[in-house]
């Protein structure tokens, strides 16, 4: 397996340094592989307006294709890849695949990732793009076996595999689940629907005696509106907006959390839920994809806010249930331990050489 360690791995992302789930995964993988002895490059096609530092001391090389002015150029990518005699090019999204595929020399192996669920691809242009381009890559990688299966059936892909996204770390300690605190993690943007979470939380608070709090982690344009909404629901004093939190402070938040609530309309494999689960924190979520089903402790039909409130209330009222579900969730996400996922990637690279 280590034999493939000599071959470089190049990740190509649309905007590699921006804050986002795809980028976090890309940098986690890049760092992990680099530490294991691979030569790793992370290539951003666009220059990021607000670069985020994912790794304190990157052991990999970073590149941006777009100059200070003008459009990013495929020629720069070709020149960069031209220096490699062999290796693997991981394209991290359908847009990246469509843009970069032609510029990759044939001697390099091409891998296309898709970080969304099948359901999400179907409601956007992604499905058509995947149908058109992914079958021609050496490998198409999806998040779960279920997703890989559905893409295979629908897009007739002969080359689909599944590798889950890695957690950034695998915690030794888990949350005691005794702090009365619900966590909501994600960008404060429309699709995450934190307004629903606030409504459900407000309703649940009225039903349990203990004084619970809701902690929202993330920043976004919706923040003023959400503050207003919290006021309208009468829970201003119970909702804390943390804003953007650096990666190293997240463990502490999880260790003080008791429930993670996810009200998004769309999620592929929600990393926040998996991260919380790794700290033994159970999650309530809308059943919007197989990724959510795989990691959330409790799911309710999409958009059914009453059912969501009921589940949230039940968990807030029952410490034993939280502990039981939290332990089960941690077992389930053991597959996303960084070491496991890196093993899966190295296996995949080895298989490509068969």
């Amino acid at each position: 397996m280590r034999a493939s360690g000599r071959d470089p791995v190049v990740f190509v992302a649309w905007d590699a340094e921006a804050l986002g789930g795809v980028q976090r995964v890309t940098h986690t993988l890049a760092q992990g592989l680099a530490v294991r002895g691979h030569e790793v490059h992370v290539v951003g096609i666009h220059r990021s307006a607000a670069p985020f530092r994912y790794t304190a001391e990157p052991a990999y090389h970073r590149h941006v294709l777009q100059g200070r002015i003008g459009r990013p150029s495929r020629r720069r990518l070709a020149a960069l890849l031209g220096a490699l005699r062999s290796g693997y090019v991981v394209l991290t999204s359908p847009g990246t695949v469509a843009w970069a595929r032609e510029a990759i020399p044939r001697r390099l192996f091409t891998v296309g990732q898709y970080h969304g669920s099948y359901e999400h691809a179907r409601s956007t242009w992604h499905l058509r793009s995947i149908r058109r381009h992914y079958g021609e890559l050496d490998q198409a990688v999806f998040l779960s076996p279920e997703d890989a299966w559905r893409f295979t059936e629908d897009c007739l892909l002969p080359n689909a595999a599944d590798v889950p996204n890695p957690l950034p770390v695998w915690p030794a300690r888990t949350s005691p689940l005794t702090t009365p605190r619900v966590l909501g993690v994600g960008r404060l943007a429309g699709v995450k629907r934190f307004d629903r979470l606030i409504s459900a939380f407000a309703a649940a608070c009225r039903a349990v005696p203990e004084r619970w709090e809701l902690h929202l982690v993330g920043e976004g344009e919706d923040e003023p509106r959400l503050r207003e909404h919290a006021a309208a629901e009468g829970v201003t004093d119970r909702v804390t907006f943390h804003g953007r939190v650096p990666a190293e402070r997240m463990p502490l938040l999880y260790l003080h959390g008791s429930i993670l609530a996810l009200t998004s309309d769309h999620e592929g494999l929600p990393l926040a839920v998996a991260e919380a689960a790794s700290y033994g924190v159970p999650a309530v979520a809308f059943d919007v994809s197989s990724g959510v089903r795989a990691v959330a402790a409790r799911t309710v039909p999409p958009g059914d806010l009453d059912a969501f409130t009921a589940e949230l209330t039940a968990l807030m009222a029952d410490l034993a249930a939280r502990r039981r579900l939290g332990a089960a969730a941690r077992d389930r996400v053991a597959a996303y331990r960084p070491g496991h996922v890196l093993d899966r990637w190295e296996e995949l690279f080895t298989r490509l050489r068969l």
Binding site: R122, S123, E153, P158
Partner: protein
């Protein structure tokens, strides 16, 4: 790179034993034997042939396909030392005979596989065209070359030779004229390892070389799955290829599988034995084999299995089918005989009926009958279940008919599925020809029961004369189902239509039945584009009934083997020729003169300029300037309904109300190409044309039902009346799938488009509760009911009568309007009722008007056309609602309009869970609120329709509740009140 001469000493044997029982039973792998010939450039001796490990010693010869000995010489293309990877995972056996060029393409497709740990075993069936050199020129140690001493005349012997030399645990076959897609080996390998199957079979696709298109072979068969023995899915007998599969070599060894060498179609017996032997096999949906179809008349000879005009081939096919049957019996699968025989009828025999019989001579067809007849006698009656009735007729005619009758029937299998010359109806059943025998029963085609506008006639051209630009035709028209009655001259107008030209025909009764028409056509009169035309046209005979204007259209037939005739008219060369196996008349125009160079250049420049200037961005940019420059016209109203689909919906009824009152307003309707049904005097503009952009900028009022031109900001002073197009349980606006995705941009655009509305027509409180917040609308709401429902409240018996006449619905038959909504998941999935089953049960009592969602495309199958009236082109759904007696729908918003009428409704919601959860999403639990029964299958629909009165009575309370929720504000005066509010005084 040279070749090695074999040195092994072998015993010479006959290469093609006369009959199978004379061949000697051998163990697997069949050992190669026979004298050695010297390949082109002998240089080195052949290394000893490596025995396949673990080959069982079987000498009982129990299996039916016993491999006879043949002469082969294995010659590796490379010294053994650098013979590729030591442990190939897959051996690909490529067989070839005098096909060097394409063989190299095939071998390269294997070497380009994403799986690299493989070996290619090229078995050269004694080619004489330099195949050896061509292979030697391929510089890859994974290629091994084996040359047979004498040509075997088939595929079995070379494949067996390859099999005896494989070194990998898995094996595939490839023919020299085909290719493997680059993931074939690796994807099949992964699947066989994942499933532990004995073999994996994958989708095979024909690749038509003349246009590069591919077509998958029976795609519905290749669903991804593991089949535990062929009994689980006997349909798999359709998959009778050896090539689209990856086999576990140990399994082949264990079962002693090899190919027959003395008959063609050895694949068939191979596959039958394989399917019987496999305890478990896997199926994958992606394409794993590209079957090249060279253009006919090209430089390459057709592959062995494709010679459909060769009776010897047919005899082998039949013989093979018999051997397969015998094998099934001996292997204990006698219960699957019918399934395997069905394959013979659907696939093997059909190929000959389709392609060979229509162009064959009488003596050839007699030959076919002689060969096939004995086997047809063996075929079990169950094998005919589910077979196309016309195939059954052909089988009957093979056994009992004349060659001429068979040829006539075979032409009906493809293309337009032309009707017979004659048919008889006895006791409600329809028979092909003139004799009512059970074997000729075509009742299931329902050709005799069609409404006149779908009725079928057979027009055969008896003589073609071509003189200058004049085309003379003698057309014999057969009316097998008597739709023309007695007096064709008095009651019908008959025309020949060629592009825009209509030439009258005067059919005269023919003493032998049918009609004879003579027509002379001046091709110079056919309207063509100004600067020449290159393209084709299929002329049709149009028979119009004078009494009601209904018309039936059918193609004309030429003998399929007729030679093309060439005419010259108006600067064009026109070729008159038969098309396809049915021999449909077709005219091909080719502009004979050279187009003027300047003209061509000018056209190209103009086209590029128009494309550039006519692009959406340019129009939008121009529009944004325009609205600041030009003033609004106070009396101009722009109407658009259903994205330009016609004169319908709320905008139509608002427009009618404006006209009725004679308000001083000028209406312009936006419409997409080719829409009809607008009243006289209405100005039309093509959607997205420059005039449309101009009208958008000038109109003082916009009235629309779908949020027109969402990217176009509303000019100052324009007032926009949003009428919307329906209400119901489906999610809408920001809750609908197209807007709830991960991206903000579509939501931002929608928000901006909604902000343009100045008033929203609301059918009721429930609509406002759901629609207004989910679209973020904050403006005034006109809650007076839906203008389009006024007519439903008031009723309109005259329209109902008119629609029934238009759709040729006989009196006394009840009408079910079937209006399913669309599915986001894909086109063609919305018509979920089994129309065949419904026709079987309900034809005569009910007629279905099928109205799919406007974005859906659905072709009504011919055999239910007597029962289903397609109404996707009908401009006004209200007319259909008025003409119907009941509604069958699923989640369509039409249910809320239909409830206004009080007529019964049924809901076919077999995909409710999927629709609710993963498809569109809903606001209401339909089973809990539906004003009629929720049904989960076609049988239930049939039962409910048979007992409709009792069913409606049981749902009366729910119906009333549903009307209270959705229709409380429908009073029949919505249009008037909306016009008052929006266009009235003080506005």
């Amino acid at each position: 790179m040279g070749h090695e001469a074999g040195v092994e000493h072998r015993v010479a044997r006959s290469t093609r034993p006369a009959s199978p029982h004379r061949s000697r039973p051998r163990a697997w792998p069949p050992d190669a034997a026979g004298p050695v010939t010297a390949p082109p450039t002998p240089r080195r001796t052949d290394p000893p042939h490596r025995p396949v490990p673990g080959a069982p010693e079987r000498a009982d010869g129990a299996a039916s396909g016993v491999r006879p000995a043949t002469g082969v010489v294995p010659v590796p293309a490379r010294p053994a030392a650098d013979a590729g990877p030591d442990d190939p995972l897959v051996s690909v056996i490529v067989i070839s005979y005098n096909d060097a060029e394409r063989l190299v393409r095939a071998v390269r497709s294997v070497l380009a596989q994403t799986l690299r740990a493989l070996e290619v075993i090229v078995v050269d069936d004694a080619s004489t065209d330099g195949t050896a050199d061509a292979i030697a020129a391929i510089d890859d140690p994974r290629v091994r070359y084996v040359r047979r001493r004498a040509n075997s005349g088939g595929c079995g012997a070379p494949r067996n030779d390859g099999l005896s030399r494989i070194r990998a645990p898995y094996v595939m076959f490839l023919d020299s004229d085909d290719e493997l897609p680059r993931h074939a080996c690796k994807s099949l390998l992964a699947e066989i390892e994942r499933t532990g199957a004995d073999f994996v079979t994958g989708q095979l696709a024909r690749l038509y070389e003349e246009n590069g298109r591919t077509r998958r072979y029976y795609p519905e068969l290749y669903r991804r799955r593991v089949v535990h023995g062929v009994r689980e899915d006997p349909e798999m007998f359709l998959d009778c290829f050896s090539t689209n599969k990856l086999y576990r070599a140990a399994f082949l060894r264990r079962e002693g599988l090899w190919f027959r060498e003395d008959l063609r179609y050895e694949d068939h017996l191979w596959s039958t034995r394989l399917l019987c032997a496999a305890r478990r096999f896997a199926v994958v949906p992606w394409v794993v084999y590209l079957w090249h179809r060279a253009p006919e008349g090209g430089p390459y000879r057709v592959s062995i299995s494709r010679g459909v005009h060769d009776l010897g081939n047919l005899a082998d096919r039949v013989r093979m089918a018999q051997l397969c049957d015998r094998h099934l019996v001996s292997a204990g699968f006698a219960d699957l005989l019918a399934a395997r025989q069905r394959r013979f009828l659907r696939q093997d025999l059909r190929v000959y009926l389709n392609e060979a019989v229509p162009v064959a001579t009488v003596s050839w067809i007699e030959g076919l009958q002689r060969i096939v007849r004995p086997y047809l006698a063996e075929i079990r009656p169950e094998a005919y279940e589910g077979i196309d009735p016309l195939i059954r007729v052909c089988c009957h005619l093979v056994a009992h008919g004349t060659p001429e009758e068979l040829r006539e029937a075979a032409r009906s299998l493809t293309g337009p599925r032309v009707p017979p010359r004659h048919a008889v109806r006895v006791g409600g059943r329809t028979y092909w020809g003139t004799v009512p025998e059970p074997g000729r029963d075509i009742t299931a085609c329902r050709m005799a029961e069609l409404p006149f506008s779908a009725a079928r006639l057979r027009h055969e051209i008896e003589r073609v004369t071509a003189a200058g630009g004049r085309l003379g035709l003698v057309v014999r028209t057969y009316d097998p189902f008597g739709v023309l009655g007695d007096g064709v001259g008095e009651r019908f107008d008959v025309h020949l239509r060629v592009r825009g030209l209509r030439v009258p025909l005067a059919p005269e009764r023919h003493p032998d039945g049918g009609y004879l028409s003579r027509v002379e056509l001046d091709l110079a009169e056919v309207p063509l584009p100004r600067h020449g035309f290159t393209g084709h046209c299929v002329p049709r005979v149009v028979v119009t009934r004078r009494a009601d204007g209904h018309a039936t259209r059918d193609v004309l037939l030429l003998p399929p083997a007729a030679d093309p005739a060439v005419l010259h008219a108006a600067g064009h060369e026109v070729t008159v020729r038969p098309e396809g196996h049915a021999g449909v008349l077709r005219l091909d125009w080719r502009y004979a003169g050279r187009p003027h160079r300047m003209h061509r250049l000018r056209r190209r420049v103009t086209a590029a300029l128009v494309r550039r200037l006519g692009s959406g961005e340019v129009k939008l940019a121009a529009y944004k300037v325009l609205i600041h420059v030009v003033p609004r016209r106070r009396d101009l109203v722009l109407f658009e309904a259903d994205c330009g689909r016609g004169y319908t919906g709320n905008p139509r009824y608002i427009h009618e109300e404006i006209r009725r009152r004679g308000l001083p307003l000028r209406a312009v309707w936006s419409t997409s190409r080719g829409r009809r049904g607008f009243p006289d005097g209405v100005t039309l503009v093509r959607r997205w044309s420059w005039r449309y952009v101009w009208t958008l900028a000038r109109a003082a009022y916009w009235v629309d039902s779908h949020n027109l031109a969402p990217a176009f900001p509303k000019p100052r002073g324009t007032r926009y009346l949003q009428t919307w197009h329906g209400q119901g349980i489906k999610t809408i606006g920001f809750d609908a799938p197209e807007l709830r995705g991960d991206f903000e941009e579509p939501r931002r655009r929608w928000r901006a488009a909604v902000a343009r509305w100045d008033a929203l027509v609301s059918p009721g409180a429930e609509f406002e509760r759901l629609f207004v917040p989910s679209n973020g609308y904050t403006g005034p709401v006109l809650r007076y009911g839906s203008p389009r429902c006024d007519v439903l409240v008031r009723g309109d018996a005259e329209t109902a009568r008119r629609v029934r006449a238009e759709l040729e619905i006989p009196d006394g038959v009840r009408v079910l309007l079937y209006a399913p909504t669309y599915r986001d998941a894909g086109k063609g999935r919305s018509v979920r009722a089994d129309l065949r089953m419904m026709a079987e049960a309900l034809a005569g009592e009910w007629v279905v008007i099928l109205r799919p969602h406007p974005t859906e495309r659905y072709q009504v199958p011919q055999e239910v056309r007597h029962f289903v009236r397609p109404a996707d082109g009908h401009p006004e759904i209200n007319d259909l609602i008025l003409a119907s007696d009941a509604l069958l729908t699923d989640y369509s918003s039409v249910m809320c309009d239909y409830a206004v009428t009080g007529k019964p409704m049924l809901f076919l919601i077999d995909d409710w869970e999927e629709y609710r959860r993963t498809e569109r999403g809903v606001y209401h639990d339909l089973p809990a609120i539906a004003p009629g029964p929720c049904l989960y299958g076609t049988e239930e629909v049939i039962d409910a329709l048979r007992d409709l009165d009792a069913v409606s009575a049981a749902y009366a309370a729910r119906y009333a509740e549903f009307r209270r929720t959705w229709c409380a504000d429908e009073k029949g005066d919505a249009a008037a009140r909306v016009v008052d509010a929006f266009f009235g005084e003080g506005r």
